[in-house]
Symmetry: C2
Subunit: 524 residues, 2 copies
């Protein structure tokens, strides 16, 4: 497959009529061929209008048809072959094994949504039978189902060039919901994006769907994305990226004549609690796993453990020493983009220079790379200094030595919304864990015991979300089957003739789909 | 029960430290005793802090305990007795039968949510089993459930002094979700609000719940509500009222350091399609039912049919004549407030003076009252004049005589989001109905055939919602059991010990609650 640097609109390669740019290999620090052409406002408009025009046809497909479509995308992504891995390695600096794993995850994610569609209960079907004899008034026949909200703008993430980009979780869940997708490629991996987008466009064609079902917009800067979110044809937004980026899109969406939901996954420091018994019994082992979690993928995961909370004392000192030793043993590695590397270095520099912070490990500065860093502060200082609560995206973490469990709990209360919280705990820590749980439930989307927050399972029960600013909308998850719910809205049909009802709502439940009849779940 | 004009904060009557005001009887145009005391900013703050403090205790109650609580509220509301009906009649101008019916609806609504809690599947429980042998990586044990978002600010509606006020649908669904409620009483019926709020406070006490679970804030103007929505302890908002009121709260919520969801039910003209065969066969009968629906409750329903769409011709002329005759036979009636009556008169006056509009029926102006009104315009003019698309809250409707079915469909496309759309149709209209359905599904929350949109069933399959500006959030319903979902967010527990898991997520499913195990629904 040839990378041409074009956008894909209406099923065809379209040369962007804005300026051009090149991809960049962060490992070699060299530009990559070819030129990519940025789309203009008229091309954004065309993609959005085509998406709107395709919506009714696309959402009228059966669940089985959309499941086939998702599986066809998965197959087409695999069929790109090694070219995809090679290009993604060049554009991201990520190693082969990671990208092959990520491709597997992307494919499995598409298949999981196909499975969800075939199972059918995603549509939350409800039927309240007519009660013609009810006094004082009869009850009409009422039937409800979920439908897609409309065309969705998806912003690809820099840190998952496959699993959270063109055919990633946001795209898979939106397409599963019956929503066309207009995808803004990330400018850090435009070639990878084009390859995957060509696979999606081919799947659209193979499945006989209208070409407006998917478009790829190519470009740099904020203008394209803001125009996309402001476009009246777009009805929801999926985004993974920085807090400032997500907030900017939230502002555009709220200022529209018709405001729309934005699902932005933005910022999290993922508190990691070392409870006393676990720390005493397994401190060394936890320190080693912790260092692995902090440095995995050069720390470029949303769920990176950026904050460690424990009671001060010799056990914590030993943990800090062991973790620092382990981190010092990890070389500085190439980060995804020059911008991410320089932001990381700024963040580390600021923290190292903070009067209340001691640096336990801090590698040498190296252009475009991220060296692991570990810092330490006191519970009192952490509570007093809001500047210490921010995310440093990269392989850095801050240990907070608490004076007491009460202070640790107060710190938990003081945190902003988070994607995850981890409890390292043993039998004897049960009481403290129990006291922390209600706080954590209010603050985070996922609570882990005795694990590490990096590594997010794509499954039914996963929540990758959390109260603001972890995400813009704490009622949602961007990973796992629950992600489909972001792009659905309910419609009720009252006294409609069987012939007019959508098939899934008719009396005859030929597929034995789970439905709620008069309040009770049944497959009849 | 004595009405004292006090707020209820922390389970106690508290005299507002702002100014005072009196309730007003719109029928007699006289003020009612006693003085009501407006709460000050410090009292708003106190109520919100108490709600936040009560949240963990309240949400830790079992489903059965919260079900008992809702039923206790229902019982306490009934026990107020006739005093409640008499006061509500005086404050709203609504007749006894309507208010007795509304009380029944309020009580049944509380009981419906109690039933939902006892059934248990509202929490969307999901369990993905650990797969320790999976390659390349084991899968952890993952369990998800929904929990309440936190304290909810509820704004009582003027047009349902019982069913959408103090113990109405928003309150019932928020409490069911385990969220404390801080209720802003509507200044049009403060005495009714106080009576019901005292019943709720008594139920809180009888059930041994923390007093912060419910508070009543009394006052006029926008300051109290805006302070309430801006308060950091509040995590979601339920509102029924005007478009400008809802938009103002949306702006406050979006500007917070932590933005929160607002569920505002705001504005709808509820298009009513007269398809040709139905119009020819049953025009007179539909005209009579239509006039009843327009004038029910002096037109003060969100689902009032404010727009009629039909093909021009003698059948429509006859329908218009019959409907106008029926409406002329209905006397002007007292509206809920002087403000509503004067807005209604303004709206009718503007429409009557519009160059493209013909008045078919228009009663005499009468202070504080609303006389039924019927107007007519052409499809072409309706498409050209956005001013004709606005809601006139009251017993008025606009007939649009369309040149063709294509024009009728184009008009449907041109409409803003709506709560409902109605199809009056016979066998022979099936094809046209089929062509309209996809448009209506995108535009409205509920589609009815051969009925009238007023009269909203409180049930499992009901959707009282719709795309903006029908509501601020088209993914939601404010009526029926789906309303609970507005106040929930998911939390995932990874590898937590059984002892630490919430009871509903443990292996032992003692209550046989519906749960999704490895993607499949089961009661095991």
């Amino acid at each position: 497959m040839k990378i041409t640097g074009e956008a894909l609109i209406g099923g065809a390669a379209v040369r962007g009529n804005g300026g051009s740019f090149k991809a960049f290999d962060p490992s070699t620090r060299e530009q990559l061929e070819p030129d990519f052409h940025m789309v203009g406002a008229d091309q954004v408009d065309a993609a959005c209008r085509l998406a709107e025009a395709a919506f009714d046809t696309f959402r009228a497909t059966s669940d089985a048809q959309r499941a086939d479509f998702l599986e066809t995308i998965a197959q087409q992504v695999v069929e790109i072959g090694d070219e995809l891995i090679v290009r993604a390695m060049a554009e991201s600096g990520l190693p082969r094994a990671r990208l092959e794993g990520e491709r597997g995850r992307t494919v499995n994610q598409l298949k999981l949504f196909a499975e969800l569609l075939r199972e059918g209960s995603w549509a939350d079907i409800r039927i309240d039978s007519a009660l013609p004899e009810r006094q004082p008034l009869p009850r009409p026949d009422l039937r409800m189902r979920m439908i897609g909200v409309g065309p969705v703008a998806v912003f690809a993430a820099s840190n998952f060039p496959l699993a959270f980009s063109v055919a990633g979780g946001d795209t898979a869940s939106a397409l599963a919901a019956g929503c066309p997708v207009v995808l803004k490629a990330h400018s850090a991996h435009p070639g990878t994006s084009e390859l995957v987008a060509r696979a999606v466009v081919k799947a659209v064609r193979l499945c006989g769907l209208p070409p407006g079902v998917f478009a790829l917009l190519t470009g740099t800067g904020n203008g394209i994305g803001q125009g996309l979110v402001a476009h009246q044809s777009i009805k929801a937004v999926g985004f993974t990226g920085s807090r400032s980026g997500g907030q900017a899109l939230m502002a555009v969406a709220a200022a529209r004549p018709q405001p729309i939901p934005v699902y932005a996954e933005m910022s999290s420091i993922n508190p990691f609690f070392l409870l006393p018994n676990a720390l005493a019994a397994r401190g060394d082992q936890i320190a080693s796993g912790f260092a692995g979690s902090v440095t995995m993928g050069v720390g470029q995961f949303c769920t990176n453990p950026g904050l460690v909370l424990a009671l001060k004392g010799p056990e914590l000192d030993r943990f800090a020493f062991k973790a620092a030793e382990a981190l010092k043993g990890v070389a500085a590695c190439t980060m995804l983009t020059a911008g991410i590397a320089s932001s990381y270095q700024d963040g580390v520099h600021k923290l190292a220079g903070h009067g209340a912070v001691e640096a336990l490990a801090k590698g040498e500065h190296a252009e475009g790379k991220g060296a692991p860093a570990l810092f330490r502060t006191s519970g009192k200082d952490f509570l007093a200094e809001h500047a210490l609560h921010g995310e440093i995206f990269g392989p850095a973490s801050l240990i907070v030595a608490c004076d007491s469990f009460e202070q640790m709990r107060a710190i938990a209360e003081s945190l902003e919304g988070q994607l995850t919280a981890t409890l390292q705990m043993d039998e004897g820590d049960l009481e403290q864990a129990r006291a922390l749980l209600p706080v954590l439930e209010r603050k985070v989307g996922r609570i882990l015991a005795n694990g590490f927050p990096t590594g997010v399972e794509v499954s039914t029960a996963m929540v990758h979300g959390g109260p603001y600013p972890a995400t813009s909308d704490g009622r949602s998850s961007s990973v796992g089957t629950a992600a489909i719910q972001r792009f659905l809205r309910p419609v009720c049909y009252q006294n409609l003739a069987q012939a007019l009802l959508p098939e899934v709502l008719r009396d005859d439940n030929g597929q034995n789909t789970w439905r709620r009849r008069d309040g009770l779940l049944t497959q009849q």
